[in-house]
């Protein structure tokens, strides 16, 4: 009986996920030009690559040109598929009162936002592939292809990273239930991500002490770890996975708590 119940629940979950994904995807397809522009706005790792290639500083921490190229190209890919904007859209929905009907539906609004992000990522695939092909056509010597097993593992890692980042932003997005302009906090959340995740410089280039401190924050696991894995660098795989799951659990708890608290606040406001 219990098993039967579980199977029914699982089937319902898959069905709702599928329909949410399909509907959000068709919504995203409407905004093709926007998605191309969003994808183009992720060129920062490539600009940083050209700077690092021209600088002799990279040899200090033992990266040659090939490793640099692979690292930043992987960062570019990971960055494309882990973009999170839940704070902005959630705030908009609360201010304009769209969240109230969502709350009446028999499904947590969390999934709506989560799947809209995933749908956007799917619609980005052709653009990213095109940019990669252009890049490799210009610099054929930097081409590499990871094994299929590694690609599969990479996808798993990247989706855990994405979910951690999504939950982090989700936790703070819940503040828009109580404050009107919570999305300005997004700027504050973006700054450590920009400097500590390995987006502008590989973590290996940081001074030893700062490297040690940074590894205690979630940021390197959001970008640097998946990128290094895709680039084929030596990484302590199991240890990193453990830490990844640890951060996932932490932000899952904070996300759920913030959601419960937020919904209570919201109803008490009577908006």
């Amino acid at each position: 009986m219990l098993l039967f119940n579980f199977r029914r629940k699982a089937r319902r979950f898959i069905l709702t996920s599928k329909s949410l994904l399909v509907s959000q995807y068709s919504l995203m397809i409407e905004y093709r030009v926007e998605i191309i522009l969003w994808a183009l706005s992720g060129v920062l790792p490539l600009i940083m690559l050209s700077l690092w290639l021209g600088s002799s500083a990279a040899s200090v921490f033992g990266y040659n040109n090939e490793q640099l190229t692979r690292y930043f190209l992987s960062v570019f890919v990971v960055r494309q598929f882990t973009a999170v904007w839940v704070m902005v859209s959630f705030e908009e929905d609360t201010i304009e009162g769209r969240i109230s009907p969502y709350l009446l539906q028999p499904i947590t609004p969390f999934w709506r936002y989560y799947y809209s992000h995933i749908a956007e990522q799917i619609s980005r695939i052709p653009i990213v592939l095109f940019l990669l092909i252009v890049f490799f056509a210009c610099f054929p010597s930097s081409f590499w292809f990871p094994s299929l097993v590694n690609i599969a593992l990479f996808l798993v890692i990247m989706y855990i990273s994405f979910t951690i980042r999504f939950l982090l932003h989700w936790t703070f997005a819940m503040l828009s239930f109580s404050f009107e302009r919570a999305s300005s906090l997004e700027r504050l959340l973006m700054i450590p991500y920009l400097f500590l995740s390995g987006l502008l410089a590989p973590i290996d280039s940081f001074p030893y002490l700062i490297q040690k401190i940074v590894m205690f924050t979630p940021y390197p696991y959001l970008l640097s770890f998946p990128a290094k894995f895709l680039a084929g660098q030596e990484v302590n795989f199991l240890r990193n996975i453990y830490i990844l799951i640890l951060w996932l659990t932490i932000f899952l708890i904070t996300g759920i708590l913030a959601w419960k608290r937020g919904v209570r606040e919201y109803s008490s406001m009577g908006a």
Binding site: V33, L37, W38, S41, V43, L51, L53, S184, L194, S205
Partner: protein, 266 residues
């Protein structure tokens, strides 16, 4: 003519006063933005320092000289945050909701109105960071102080402000045809990030692109060269001509685009 000038300055002062008082309503936001600017400042210097770990340089620029470039970037960023962002992103809303009609009907130049209607206080921390960086960089690099240097710097910095404004305005004007250009400004912002570093640090092809296609070199590197007394008179004249040309293009484009503006309801 003089009467008109005073009229416009008076109007601008009034615009700025109104927008400042409406912003002071969100005190938490101001705190967040000050904090964000300080963290951004520390982070940018940290990343820059990584390029100088083994006594190397960045495209022939020393540490102190690169700080001047970063400082000028900060100055321009403060201009973006306080003037460009609050105003030019509103053009999209005006087009979407049809309120551009009311702007066009006002007895004031429409470009002036849409560009300087409001001002944001949040640019101040960046402004301060920029001034600190430029003065520190200048103090550290052993170039003696001269009046001509200051004049050249102020002239070229004004040029870069005008170029930056024209770039943003060109992009914002396209919203008359494509309503959602907000994303395009994100692309521009991420490309402009390249201006944090001297143009000589980039490979030759990118240097060409960053000079003529997206004039990033004129934004930060050339004013920094003026501070360091490295710039020739020909280069100053060239920059001046380029700036005037760029501004005229953006102005002409606005007038051209308005011909295609059909109000939201029609």
């Amino acid at each position: 003519m003089i009467y008109k000038f005073f009229n416009i300055t008076g109007l601008l002062c009034l615009f700025f006063k109104v927008s400042l008082s409406s912003q002071l309503e969100y005190k938490l936001n101001i705190l967040v933005d000050v904090l964000a600017s300080i963290l951004n400042f520390i982070g940018s210097i940290f990343i820059l320092s990584l390029f100088f770990t083994n006594g190397s340089n960045l495209g022939g620029w020393s540490w102190a000289e690169t700080l001047i470039v970063l400082g000028i970037y900060n100055l321009l960023e403060s201009f973006t945050i306080s003037i460009l962002q609050p105003n030019l992103t509103q053009i999209v809303r005006h087009v979407q909701q049809g309120t551009l009609d009311f702007v066009l009907l006002k007895p004031i130049d429409s470009q002036l109105w849409v560009s300087f209607r409001s001002i944001s206080l949040w640019g101040l921390p960046s402004l301060l960071c920029g001034i600190i960086l430029v003065s520190y960089g200048f103090y550290q690099s052993d170039y003696h102080f001269a009046l001509t240097t200051i004049c050249a710097f102020i002239l070229l910095l004004s040029c870069s402000v005008v170029i930056l404004y024209s770039l943003w305005f060109l992009l914002a004007t396209t919203s008359i045809w494509f309503v959602k250009v907000w994303n395009a400004t994100e692309v521009l912002k991420s490309l402009l990030m390249a201006g944090k570093y001297p143009i000589h640090a980039y490979p030759a092809t990118l240097r060409l692109i960053f000079t003529y296609l997206i004039p990033i070199a004129f934004l930060t590197t050339i004013p920094a060269e003026a501070v360091l007394n490295r710039i020739s008179v020909e280069m100053i004249v060239f920059t001046l001509c380029f700036t005037i040309l760029f501004f005229c293009i953006s102005r002409a484009f606005w007038i051209f685009a308005l011909r295609f503006y059909t109000s939201a309801s029609s």
